[in-house]
């Protein structure tokens, strides 16, 4: 699998990888462009681009608002797909789409997958598509070399994790806690135990997201996960200080490490 290989080879030389998140069209595609440039130039390893949806049930207030503002300002799926293709053509790191299943369902599942593959997208994160509902779609994605990223939650049983892993590819997205995106997570003993369970359940690389906000959080992941995921925190930063502030934030998260 393309994405899994990319992650593994990136990880080879590093303590931990970093995935960041943006909401497409928020506050504008121009800002998205600048933010992604800052991210890539400052060493981000992978980026998930969220195609906005009006009902993002798994997202917390920051990403929720970004989704809604983006839609309100007129963002279309076509623009998102075009933008995705542009980014894949511009940068070498893996790009993923994150969205809710209705966006794809309405666009046409096959049509969407073809477009994403042609653009060079490497994976899909769909928080409201469990394999019980999405198995055929996931298979169709894999056929095209698109990794369907599975999500583990602290509430997932061991058996459930193993079964999920069978459907997944690329890496597994482990949510650091229950709940939605945005709130800070405490990466305590329970968390360690949980990540241990994740590790037992799959050989895929493990990414950890939900409430990862600063270098200390990232450090806590070193040795137990392959990749940290920062979402809401970058959006807040850009809201407050503009895209120029992103570079320094990324450098901080990576503990000073510069781009390769």
């Amino acid at each position: 699998m393309q994405l899994e290989q990319a992650i593994r080879s990136k990880k080879a030389g590093k303590e931990i990888l970093l995935m960041t998140h943006i909401v497409l069209g928020y506050p504008s595609f121009d800002t998205n462009r600048e933010v992604i440039r800052e991210m890539v130039e400052n060493g981000v390893d992978c980026i998930e681009m969220q195609i906005p949806f009006s009902e993002p049930m798994a997202d917390g207030p920051v990403i929720l608002k970004a989704n809604q503002d983006s839609i309100a300002s007129g963002t279309t799926i076509r623009e998102c797909l075009d933008f995705g293709a542009e980014m894949c053509a511009t940068y070498e790191i893996p790009f993923l789409y994150m969205t809710y299943f209705n966006v794809i369902f309405k666009y046409g599942e096959e049509r969407f997958l073809d477009k994403a593959r042609d653009a060079g997208i490497q994976g899909l994160i769909l928080p409201d598509l469990p394999p019980e509902e999405g198995a055929p779609f996931m298979a169709a994605a894999r056929q095209r070399g698109l990794a369907p990223i599975m999500i583990f939650s602290p509430t997932s049983t061991d058996a459930r994790m193993r079964s999920l892993a069978d459907f997944g590819g690329g890496f597994v997205y482990c949510t650091a806690r229950k709940g939605v995106t945005g709130r800070h997570s405490s990466l305590d003993a329970d968390f360690a135990n949980y990540l241990n369970r994740c590790r037992q359940a799959t050989d895929l690389p493990l990414a950890v997201g939900f409430g990862i906000q600063n270098r200390a959080d990232i450090e806590a992941l070193i040795g137990v996960a392959d990749m940290g995921v920062v979402g809401s925190q970058t959006i807040k930063l850009v809201d407050e200080q503009g895209s120029a502030a992103v570079g320094r934030f990324i450098r901080e998260l990576l503990g000073g490490r510069r781009s390769h």
Partner: protein, 409 residues
Amino acid sequence: MHTRKYFGTWGGSFIPEALHETFQQLDAAYQQIRNDPAFWEEYLHLMSTYSCRPTPLTYAENLSKHFGGAQIYIKREDLNHTGAHKANNVMGQGLLVKRMGKTRVIAETGAGQHGLATATMAAKFGFDCAVYMGEEDVLRQRPNVFWMEKMGATVIPVKDGSKTLKDAINEAFRDWVTNMDTTHYVFGTACGPAPFPEMVSWLQSIIGKEAAEQILAQHGRLPRRIYACVGGGSNSLGIFQRFLDEDETELVGVEAGGLGLESGLHAARLVGGDASPGIAQGYKTMFLQNSDGQMRDTHSVSAGLDYIGVSPILADLWEKKAVRFEAATDSEVIEALDLTMKKEGIIPALESAHAFVQAFKEAPDLARDDAVIINMSGRGDKDIFTIAHAYGDPSWQQFIISRARQYEK
């Protein structure tokens, strides 16, 4: 029996992984109560001592004469405790929560009816309770908010999106995904991820079971048609289910036509061509959405029908033509309400009045010895602020102004 997840191609359970186990447990608990006759007994006992079941079937003699066709009967869900059929679902889920050993319930609410019913149930069962309600709705439906708070519930205004029902549902899911260990989400209608559509419909099926017995006792045979308004679909499924296999009974669901189907300002998902299949809020159904799959704003004079989706069970029955769907406009609704008050001394909720509209359109063309049943899902006095406003009643306006003066001092 096992829970049906899909109804035709509709339904399913599109939920975040964090809720997977919660739904497994819920489904197991639901199957247990569904297969345990003692549960239904307990449910009936509760509904007949705490609420007013069986609710009456009222023969609307004056309306029947007025239209000169079918004999019109009204199933009186308005006489339930808290004033609507919502109580059936909520009290049933309350018993389920007790069995599951959870201690907290959450709910979404639009008009406030389901929130009020849930707050009531929580007080009765001693659960903590949070009700999510769009900020717009909190402002519009202050009386219900007031009562919910007085029952001890926390009402949480939802400031996202269109600030209405669908946003409250999203927000309730966000709460649940965090607090599933202690908390049950009391879904308010026959929508959402499985097992909710089936479970809510089953709890509401008490309406149709009673209605069948009552119409046989009062009219001597089954009705020719049954009319029910369709928001999420719980009251309509509640009365329809019992009659699905009865050839002589046609089932008619009435959606919110708002300012007219052509206007685009409505909440009709199964009539008119504005809705399309989609997946949101955990299930697959016909949604009012744009071509990108973004949900549209909906409009109805009745908050309880003002929703983007519809029960997957109804979508299936629609596709199979087992239920006919129609729409009633806001102004037709006010007219039907007016006539019903004057002729029968009965005040339907604005939601329920949609069913009355369609029955009134069709009754004249039916035979005198035919019966029709209108499911009156709730009472309209909760809607005084909306109804008095819709009538433009000057004394009401004066009343509100003079009250406000008192408070502005």
